[in-house]
Point group: C4
Chain length 297, copies 4
């Protein structure tokens, strides 16, 4: 009855660390693993069931709430970036050191890789039955799209790149607003939920061109996994060597979005001193902003 | 490593303003841009994918959460009207000066115009492939409906106007309730989410007649964009010069809704002094209202 | 510029009342009107568009969030019953006087009637085109189901009654839990949202037999409206005089659910004194319950 | 007018108990009953209506929000495990005594059994019409899948077991994160909502193989009910004696998930003393974590 407790305590004493780099790395690893496990899992459910058990809306909801899940797992430790494009934007905004930036990217990449491997083992039988063991990138029974993004036929590389820049920029604008205490931030314990809703929104509106990767780790690591696991090097050559677009596009888009939010909104917030004077200390629920605006007009 | 910081600081010093009109204008501009980018983006995804990647429910969800996104972007600065009908109602309710009212409308219109242009560039390739470069207002491959509303065949102008008045009035009643601290307001940091849910609700129940524009900026600015971008003047003449209905209807409806909420609910709230006496200071979660009602009965 | 303000102030002075019965009556009236306007509006959208603009899931979501909307409108004034079955349960639980109970029921009935009339005018053209002006209760182009419930062919009156009792009882159990501060109540400002989610849940799981009326006002008042507006007395005779089942069933179910919640949960809450001793004063977010349970074991 | 009050007071005096085991047992019983009533009810709605009134997405939403409903019913009393796999993980983590563990499992099993019986009576007529009174486990009009899980044709027992371990482990990781105050816990009054969203997520991504039972009580108790109610012993022999997989798999997966969360996240939280020093006392909404990370870097 107590043996398992002794065992857990023992483990804790041996494994525990206070090192910021290790703690944040572990957290981003597990968070991104959860994101990919649920996100790519839902694409597998849609494809392998022939759209009987999921449609594109289900996948949109799953990727949104997979971000919610991954964010709850690590938000209190690492801030829940889960995405090198977010980490790069935070580095640019001086909210992440370059050392941590590198560790975050590495952890996100590894987490996404293991997440993809878990989806593979979760749907191992279904993958075999669906594709007759013949894993292909294109064609009627292709399965590579479960793990990484491939462009629709109508899409040029230029439009693909624009797509990734616009989608990631819009996402970053929304994330920064949801976190901005000087604006109308969501309650901290619900920020993972609302950021998940924003990812759902990206999927509802910007998913047709190439499946909204908007995250280099989410796209590149599972692509590596498929290259190794049997889909071969075609996963990199397909779509006119498409693979680099969802890597570079989100990085550029994240920075663009962060700069836009700063220039249009954050730059002009009253400085904290001014703020504290003009506002009585309120708790939780404040008076509607409409009246704040009017009273100062 | 620090060069970008110097760059950002420099920009902030140069661009920063404390001017209320500029700050609110920038905020409403970016918020409405985000609303249209995601909202019209989802209609594009539905139409251009031939309903494979989205259905009407997806568009309902997208427009709802697009309002959530746009509201988070600007709620702490401008109060997140995002809609001239809301701004007019707030002006009527004495919560917005007439100067700010004009600035808000201008910013909302410009934001919606740029948002429509971004949707156009996001789906540039898909638009060309779908319509063979032949952009039409009606017909099997028509694409004007991605940007602005057009009435269903069954709809008369009178019923269309009623539709817009009822829908916008109902929306305003809900928004005012969600913000009303003397009623059962949502927590401030979640008001953008709940107002988004209300817009989703309008789409679920009042979307069949003409696609629930309920916002003059949302409808007119993208319509202007299409007139310029190649769809031509038919976007204004179509549907028996339909274009003015989703401009005037929401403005009337917003005022109607605001007056109804005032007359039925807000007029009769106990004055603040009475309130503070009868309620012990509670924090966050209060006792259920059922007991309040019973105890005073 | 100020004329409208003088006008509003004037109205307030004339119309304002502090009378509890009038205030609660007006609030329940407007809340139930909003509930029916959005709820029945979504059924109209589904039926009249031939399922192109809505499916049963959309209607489930709409009725759920329509309850959310109606509840925000009146929760801070009347407690947002919106349903005679809820009011009766609250009367049984001693949380509503019998005078208020009668006023609530009357206001809910009138609100639902006007809400149905607004749906009729919102979709007036569409109703005419869909049914060729021939309003029928059964048959391929029947439209009575937009306003009130009719049983599926497989359903006997006994099973219909059981259905209404079980569904309303389950709903009341959930509502009482969400409001119960001694249990794990939702934050007051989000209770309308969570009660809406519960109504969505009833629609997802208990909607097949007869469309989950679970509310005598929601069902009977729109049925009266259809009887007057042209569908005739068949709305009462149809389905073997089905109309009384969704009136009586929910009233019985509400009481059953309230008693079950009391007997299984509320009776055994520690009395307030005990509670305050064993808990340190926490704010907003508490420690997980799991540890509370273990520490007292 | 007061007779019913006297009746209720009388009942309370007779039935009230302060015994922890009885209170928690009653709470887990009623919570799990509500979970199964809504969850299996939605499967019944989907199957018996021939997918007209629900699709797999509706069932995913229903099971998610059924967990939300069940959790609100008992969270403040018993911690809302609703699942022996959760209870076992809590026992391993030293948050539940072994006596309570046994009581929880028994109560969950009984609640799930009665919940299944209520679904049976709710859809009694529909079950008869759908299957002509011939209740079968497999075949075109089979109905056993309404109550318990059966594997898809493609699934081996090994992959089925892996599926249950991975799904339950992922769910436990998310639940522990949502409850972890030293991480970024959800507000206590919204934890039932967010845990429901996580169950929805499991259904969106891990539902294809065998319908995500992830809960021994949810699967075994309704299976027993069907064995007794007329489906016969085939419910245990079907799928190569599949029944033990959704019993053992979740128990193993729950422990695996709990250990992973501890090792990757919880072990490394700063001890409470350190925490209180480095953080100023904040209320409700905190500064975004991004800055916390950066400031300590």
């Amino acid at each position: 009855m107590v043996s398992h407790l002794a065992f857990l305590k023992n483990m804790k004493l041996k494994l525990r660390t206070q090192n910021l780099y290790v703690r944040c790395g572990l957290a981003e690893f597990l968070g991104t693993l959860i994101l990919i496990l649920f996100g790519c899992g839902s694409v597998a459910q849609m494809e392998l069931s022939g759209f009987a058990k999921a449609q594109f809306l289900s996948v949109n909801m799953a990727f949104g709430f997979a971000v919610t899940a991954g964010a709850y797992v690590c938000a209190g430790v690492s801030g829940a970036h889960l995405n090198p494009a977010v980490s790069l934007a935070m580095f640019i905004l001086k909210k992440l050191s370059w050392k941590l930036f590198l560790i975050y990217c590495l952890a996100q990449f590894l987490g996404a890789f293991i997440g993809a491997a878990l989806v593979f083992s979760l749907y191992y039988d279904a993958l075999h039955v669906y594709s007759n063991g013949n894993w292909t990138v294109y064609g009627p029974q292709s399965t590579a799209g479960i793990f990484a993004s491939y462009p629709s036929e109508h899409l040029s590389a230029i439009n693909g790149f624009t797509d990734q820049v616009i989608a990631t920029a819009a996402l970053l604008i929304c994330i920064l607003a949801i976190l901005d205490e000087a604006n109308n931030a969501a309650p901290r314990g619900l920020q993972p939920f609302l950021i998940g809703i924003m990812v759902l929104l990206v999927g509802l509106a910007m998913g047709f061109n190439c499946g909204y990767p908007i995250n280099p780790a989410r796209d590149l690591a599972p692509r590596f996994f498929t290259a190794i696991a049997g889909w071969g090097s075609e996963v990199f050559s397909a779509g006119g060597h498409w693979w680099w677009v969802p890597v570079l596009g989100p990085l550029v888009g994240g920075v663009v979005g962060a700069v836009i939010y700063e220039v249009f909104i954050e730059f002009h917030h009253p400085s904290p001193n001014q703020k504290q004077e003009s506002e009585e200390p309120t708790e939780g629920i404040n008076r509607p902003h409409y009246e704040l605006v009017q009273s100062s007009a």
